[in-house]
């Protein structure tokens, strides 16, 4: 787990956080499984970083104590996982605590932390007071009950890939897949197919749908065996074979354990598959998630054997590979490739904005079986209104431009949904706008906001060095000199710190990964002369400075021009 903190701090988007050490290619593999194991670490991490800022620890601790709703929203934030989201969660928690404790309301509204939506918060605060005085208590209770149900239903829809949800725009591909599976299940014809599409394009959904439909066919359900493998879990053929054996429940499985060595297991499985034939043995459906990772196994033994079985008169099997890599066929070894049937199903998110709107509506609407018809009707009406609202359309268009991924839409809706409370029972356009703002926030800008003035000054010095030397790396001494020049000539507001203090600030920047050493730090190298690179773009620095609270004017001037002191 050594890599973890560093990765986290440099995280730019939620997918990246989860990426772990896999590198950019495997970078955004995100399935709930991994997510769950990593997520508990996130809030802790955030807390630590924010602690360096001004007094946010207090809010944090209150969030923790908030319990009830506050706790839940934090959990959501954990799911979403991005820096923006955790802020949002904190924001919400803040509001809830505020509501419970009206006396503290006003000071908190002024707190710099809520800079994001300061005005709206306070405005809503007042609204709340008015509304709660008008509403009867019982009405409130019913509402809260329904609302928690609404949130449960929608969250399930957004977070889990349930096979019950609808498919969007992939009917042709779906038909193709289901026909193929049926031919395996009913006629015992062996097949192999790859489903290729970018992340979040619904590959797993389509497969789950197809399997569900297949299992509903009479006589098929007890005649078909399924084996689910995931390249992230079965990282080599040995584990994969054990897992296959276990899932097929062959005779060398005792309880939940598979006995025998790798070689024994392999020959056992091959023998088992060989002994079957088209008409009499159960068809087996192999689903290989993250198929490209299987292609990295030694010799591609597993793939070779699976495809070989699918091309010979043995037990009928269907091999379904899911991958997001378009160049997957080039990864396969020539013998393996020859045995693969070259069927590919492409899922490309090939819908336009009107359809995106429709999806948005469908995803947010409540199902007809919702207990209170009246409420569901009202909710759905509101969703309909939202989809016609100009602002909402704008937000969605923006979101659509960034990513056609349905998962990112889910994230947006989830953030908006978190704003729904008894006093604010329906999603409104501002909610969505706020959510969008959170989604598209620059994560590094937030870090810069939390830096001290000295650290900001160092960053500005680095920026100037970059401008002068054209992206050449710098070391501490250079930065310190630049800083000294500024302090001596111009600065009135910045105290001339001792060198060790500046060094400490410099190291802090390195810890935050705003700067990065060119080579590995060796123990005996002098730290002052280690070459570094800045990981912030000029525009980023300038933008961050504009929003930086209480920035001294001379620092700001210095930032705009390195020659301002002349």
């Amino acid at each position: 787990m050594r890599w973890f903190p560093r990765r986290l701090r440099g995280a730019r988007d939620p997918e990246d956080i989860v990426a772990g050490g896999r590198g950019a290619g495997a970078g955004s593999r995100r399935k709930s499984l991994l997510f769950n194991t990593l997520s508990p670490l996130l809030p802790h991490k955030r807390k630590w970083r924010n602690g360096s800022g001004r007094g946010r620890r207090e809010i944090r601790s209150r969030v923790g104590a908030g319990g009830g709703r506050g706790g839940r929203s934090r959990k959501c934030a954990r799911h979403a996982g991005s820096s923006g989201v955790s802020l949002a969660a904190a924001g919400e928690a803040e509001r809830t605590t505020r509501r419970r404790d009206p006396a503290k309301r006003f000071p908190q509204c002024l707190h710099p932390y809520s800079a994001l939506g300061r005005t709206s918060f306070s405005a809503r605060g007042f609204q709340f007071v008015e509304m709660s005085s008008r509403k009867s208590k019982s009405n409130n209770l019913i509402h809260s009950e329904y609302l928690s149900q609404v949130q449960r239903i929608l969250r399930e829809r957004f977070c889990h890939q349930s096979p019950h949800s609808n498919l969007f725009g992939v009917q042709v591909q779906y038909k193709n897949l289901i026909e193929l599976l049926k031919r395996t299940a009913i006629y015992g014809e062996s097949n192999s197919v790859l489903i290729i599409g970018p992340r979040g394009s619904g590959k797993s959904t389509i497969v789950n749908h197809a399997l569900k439909e297949l299992m509903e066919v009479e006589d098929v359900s007890e005649n078909v065996l399924q084996v689910h493998l995931n390249g992230l879990l079965q990282i080599n053929d040995k584990i994969a074979l054990k897992e296959i054996t276990r899932q097929l429940n062959l005779e060398n499985v005792v309880g939940d354990k598979v006995f025998g060595s790798f070689a024994e297991n392999l020959s056992f499985i091959l023998e088992a598959l060989k002994n079957g034939d088209r008409t009499s043995s159960c068809p087996v459906i192999f689903i290989l998630d993250e198929f490209d990772l299987f292609a990295h196994h030694k010799n591609q033994t597993l793939l070779y054997n699976l495809f070989d079985v699918s091309q010979s008169a043995q037990t009928p099997i269907a091999v379904i590979g899911l991958t997001c890599r378009l160049d997957i066929l080039e990864l396969l070894e020539k013998r393996v490739k020859s045995r693969f049937s070259h069927r590919q199903i492409h899922l490309m998110n090939s819908f336009g904005f009107p359809q995106y709107l429709k999806i948005f509506k469908e995803q947010l609407s409540l199902p007809a079986e919702f207990p209170d018809k009246l409420f569901a009707e009202k909710w759905n009406e509101n969703v309909q209104c939202l989809s016609e609202d100009k602002n909402v359309r704008e937000v969605l268009q923006k979101h659509f431009n960034v990513s056609k991924n349905l998962r990112s839409l889910h994230m947006l809706l989830m953030l908006a949904l978190n704003r729904v409370t008894t006093s604010h029972p329906f999603i409104t356009a501002p909610d969505l706008m706020e959510a969008n703002q959170l989604c598209s926030m620059d994560s590094k800008a937030n870090i810069v906001h939390g830096l001290s003035v000295l650290e900001i000054c160092l960053i500005i010095a680095m920026k100037h060095l970059n401008d002068i030397y054209e992206e050449e790396p710098f070391n501490f001494q250079m930065v310190y000199n630049e800083f000294q020049k500024f302090v001596q000539r111009k600065a009135h507001s910045v105290y001339n710190f001792e060198k060790p203090v500046v060094m400490k600030a410099f190291e802090h920047l390195q810890q935050l990964e705003l700067i990065r050493p060119m080579e590995r730090t060796s123990a005996n190298a002098q730290r002052e002369y280690q070459l570094m690179k800045l990981l912030l773009d000029n525009t980023q620095i300038m933008n961050a400075l504009q929003k930086y609270p209480n920035c001294p004017t001379d620092v700001r001037q210095w930032a705009t021009s390195s020659l301002s002191w002349l």
Binding site: W3, R6, R7, R12, G23, A24, G25, G27, K175, E179, Y187, R199, D219, E222, N223, L225, D237, L250, E251, F262, A263, L266, S267, F268, I269, L270, E271, A272, L273, N275, G276, R278, S280, S281, C282, P283, T301, S312, A313, C324, D327, R335, S338, S341, H342, R343, Q344, H346, S350, F400, N401, V402, S403, K404, S440, D442, S443, K444, L536, D537
Partner: protein, 873 residues
């Protein structure tokens, strides 16, 4: 329970009844019936194939019960030449005690279970048979009658497969049920389908049909399809030999029924004559080398003597009869097939008829006595003779069949006759039971006790078949399905089945030369009792492994014919090993059944191959995917190629790999020199060869347009020459055709358009569609990359540089300002699709970006999607 007298108490003599039927394929003689005579009393018990018998076991009270499937004489076995193949039934007391509770009820006293366990040995000595017994199959809802006077009646209701009790499958039940149909007690309900055929007052015509069929089946008694494993190979042949469309089936049906009783006797005669040419065609062929010419003569002969429609019917029924395939069956036909075995059983109860029957057959064969005699002598002669001339003939014959297959389009009249003889001939070939050496695990029930002996001579099983039905180890087996797989119902499905790569044809077209070379090589080594290596190379999908398999198959047939000395065949595949040294373990296990560690196995194998006279027969070792056996020291390869050079090793190694120059490239000198210079390379298929392959698979099945076949052949030949690809494309095209065709009943032909679509689907690069369908920001990021490349003149840029371009671009196009996080997300998204090649994202701003697609492609895709108002960079 009754006390069954066993051989110990009274001496019995066993003798065959009826003329032996020589099965050329298996080289033993099969019989239809046998008689058992007790020494003291003069009663004779006649037992026929298809009857249920009691088999002597450890317990005199409860002998084993089985159904007789085949009787034959096996010369290989010294102790008991008379052997029988049976399908076992199991008594409740034989079920392991720990599993008895699975039944869930108290078993009836005379209840037995169908023993559905393929690993158990079904080959017994005839002398263990005590007598016949009656077995009645009961439907799952029927109650077993408790008070029966006849103790020799047993009831079967469930099947037992060592794991669970299951109700008998409907087909099995129907079959068993029919066996007892002729017996007095048949008031029990019969399945609706069987009733419609069986129970109504049988018209004479129907009767004739059945009689004829049974007659026919007697001539090939062992082929009665009681064994579930058999039909496969045969079906394929049938498909190849005769166009089987629904209307021929119907016309055939009408012909059957139009036959009326006056013609009956005549008809029978016709039939017996028409069967004979096909039966005899192989020895003829071997003698005169012209089977194709002789067969038409025969049919012409018949034509002279018989009325026109009779002849047509006879020919047709001849073909139909042997096509006892469940595959393309309408129900009537399948009914008939299941009838076949039932005839034997029924007759056995009507005593006079039974005894008469063989004589009848004899008579009919005596009608052309000299012919039959000639046949017998010629075959015996042939068996004795041991020369490679015959095998040459065999090869030549095979080649000629291929020629026949080619020429069949032009020549209609000639074709039919030739085809008939071809099919019968091939059928017998195809009928070799799976040779035990290839699948040692199925060979004997008591594999552990007599591993070695049973491997050498699989038929030597102790006379007393003890209690070895339990699996010793966990058996590698996927659970079998309850519901049988559906069979193809229309032409496209049929075509798809035949085009599947797994449907290996009986002989591979276009690989005759390679076949012959390999065959000659291995055969010469076998005849000379020496060893040697051969290296076979070729790109994937050119039929290397399939050809070698075919060679081995043919050699195994030749062994049966005593043309070549027997040999052991071992196959290993480098890809199916976890590690190169495992190859020793696999070879040893397949050779002797022993299990050992890699090191130990290597020692044992060295001992076996390097000491003289330790191996009594030659071993043929096929090493597939040789290149995977490469190790740093190359000791595995060295050993594999070193063993054959030892005197007395008698090892023939056939090594297969993809690259032609593998020996030069990766092998050390001492290894490649041992491999020798016997090499062969398989060229990729040319378009005409691919076309021929497709045509031969689709023989007589008009599912494809001719142009379409040619198109796909040319496409694939231009691409890779991989036959697998060719077949896959065709299969996909049938699916597209079916999909596009709205009416479910009558799918049209697969046209060029369908094939083009399939080819497109499989080979078109998806990068351009992916770019077209990516989001606006992703597209503009790609544009920014192009701009940056253009600016710097390099093919690589850091993320920071691209980001600046991207910001500028967005400003120009009026898009909102993209934040760094968003852009990074876009970048890693494109990277995960491999449209871009990116470094690990921990480099952040400094990560380097490269395009994985050509710049022109990107430009093309972007232009197309954006239209002219927003040109590319």
């Amino acid at each position: 329970m009754a006390h069954y007298p066993t051989r110990l108490k009274s001496r019995r003599t066993y003798s065959w009844v009826g003329r032996p039927l020589l099965d050329r394929k298996l080289h033993y003689q099969t019989y239809k019936e046998m008689s058992v005579t007790l020494e003291h009393c003069s009663t004779e018990i006649h037992i026929q194939v298809g009857q249920f018998v009691l088999v002597e076991g450890t317990d005199n009270e409860n002998p084993y019960v089985a159904k007789l499937i085949e009787l034959f004489e096996d010369d290989l076995d010294l102790f008991s030449k008379k052997r029988a193949r049976v399908q076992w039934f199991i008594r409740f007391c034989e079920v392991p005690v720990c599993k008895q509770h699975l039944l869930g009820r108290k078993p009836a006293e005379q209840e037995i279970f169908w023993y559905d366990y393929p690993a158990c040995d079904s080959n017994i000595s005839v002398e263990t048979i005590i007598g016949s017994v009656r077995v009645i199959a009961l439907a799952p809802d029927e109650v077993i009658p408790m008070d029966l006077k006849n103790e020799k009646t047993l009831f079967v209701k469930l099947s037992w497969n060592e794991k669970e009790f299951r109700p008998l499958s409907p087909e099995l039940f129907a079959e068993l049920d029919k066996l007892q149909e002729g017996s007095p007690r048949c008031q029990k309900p019969v399945g609706a389908k069987t009733k419609s055929i069986e129970s109504p007052s049988r018209t004479t015509a129907e009767h004739v049909v059945k009689r004829i069929e049974s007659r026919h089946s007697t001539s090939k008694s062992h082929q009665t399809p009681t064994h579930p494993v058999t039909p496969r190979a045969r079906k394929r042949l049938e498909l190849g030999s005769f166009p089987r469309t629904p209307n021929t089936r119907i016309s055939q049906q009408t012909l059957w029924t139009s036959l009326d009783s006056p013609k009956r006797t005549k008809w029978e005669k016709v039939f017996s004559e028409t069967t004979s040419p096909s039966k005899r065609s192989q020895p003829d062929a071997l003698q005169t080398l012209s089977p194709a010419l002789k067969a038409p003569e025969k049919t012409r002969e018949i034509r002279r003597s018989r009325a026109e429609e009779n002849k047509a019917a006879s020919r047709e029924c001849h073909v139909i009869l042997r096509a006892r395939v469940p595959a393309l069956k309408t129900t009537e036909i399948s009914e008939k097939t299941t009838l076949t075995p039932s005839e034997g059983g029924k007759r056995s109860l009507v005593a006079p008829f039974v005894i008469l029957k063989p004589e009848k057959i004899k008579k009919s064969s005596e009608a052309k006595g000299p012919d039959a005699q000639g046949e017998a002598t010629s075959t015996t002669h042939r068996i004795r003779r041991k020369s490679s001339l015959l095998t040459l003939n065999r090869i030549r014959q095979q080649l000629r069949f291929l020629d026949n297959g080619e020429s069949d389009q032009e020549d209609g009249e000639f074709l039919l006759a030739a085809e008939v003889s071809y099919s019968s001939n091939e059928e017998e070939e195809a009928y070799t039971p799976p040779l035990p050496r290839r699948i040692p695990c199925r060979v004997s029930r008591n594999l552990r006790s007599s591993v070695k002996s049973s491997l050498q001579t699989p038929s030597t099983i102790p006379k007393k078949t003890p209690k070895p039905r339990m699996p010793c180890h966990a058996t590698p087996q996927i659970r079998s399905r309850n519901l049988a797989a559906q069979e193809p119902s229309n032409m496209l499905e049929e075509a798809r089945l035949r085009l599947h790569v797994s449907a290996v044809p009986e002989s591979l077209p276009c690989r005759e030369q390679e076949f012959q070379d390999i065959y000659n090589f291995v055969e010469s080594k076998l005849l000379d009792h020496t060893g040697g290596c051969m290296y076979i190379s070729g790109v994937p999908g050119t039929g290397k492994t399939a050809t070698v398999h075919e060679v081995i198959h043919c050699l195994q047939q030749a062994v049966q014919a005593n043309d070549v000395p027997p040999f052991q065949y071992v196959e290993v595949n480098g890809m199916k090993l976890t590690e190169p040294h495992q190859v020793y373990v696999q070879i040893l296990q397949k050779l002797t059944g022993q299990k050992a560690t890699a090191n130990h196995a290597a020692k044992l194998l060295v001992k076996r191959f390097c000491t003289q006279g330790s191996s009594p027969e030659t071993t043929v070792l096929l090493v597939d995917e040789l290149d995977l056996l490469w190790t740093k020291k190359q000791d595995v390869m060295y050993n594999l190629f070193d063993w054959p050079t030892h005197k007395g090793a008698r090892l023939v190694v056939l090594a297969i790999a993809n690259t032609m120059d593998l020996p030069e490239r990766i092998m050390m000198n001492r290894v490649s020199s041992r491999l020798g210079l016997t090499r062969m390379s398989f060229q990729p298929y040319t378009h005409s060869q691919l076309q021929q392959i497709l045509v031969s698979r689709l023989k007589h099945l008009k599912a494809f347009e001719d142009d379409a076949i040619q198109l796909v052949a040319r496409k694939v030949a231009a691409l890779s020459g991989d036959a697998r690809r060719c077949l896959d494309i065709c299969r996909r095209a049938t699916e597209i055709c079916e999909f596009s065709c709205k009416k479910p009943g009558s799918p049209g032909l697969v046209t060029v358009a369908h094939l083009l679509e399939a080819v497109d689907e499989m080979f078109s690069s998806s990068y351009i569609t992916a770019i077209k369908n990516s989001s606006v920001l992703e597209q503009s990021f790609l544009r920014a990359i192009l701009a940056e490349f253009h600016r710097s003149g390099l093919e690589e840029a850091t993320f920071q540089q691209v980001y600046r371009q991207h910001v500028a671009l967005c400003r120009m196009e009026g898009l909102p300002y993209p934040t760094m996080s968003e852009t990074m997300a876009v970048c890693s998204h494109l990277g995960s699709c491999r449209l871009l090649l990116v470094e690990p994202s921990r480099n952040d701003l400094l990560l380097r970006v490269r395009l994985n697609v050509s710049q022109n492609d990107v430009l093309y895709a972007l232009k197309k999607s954006e239209g002219p108002q927003k040109p590319g960079v």
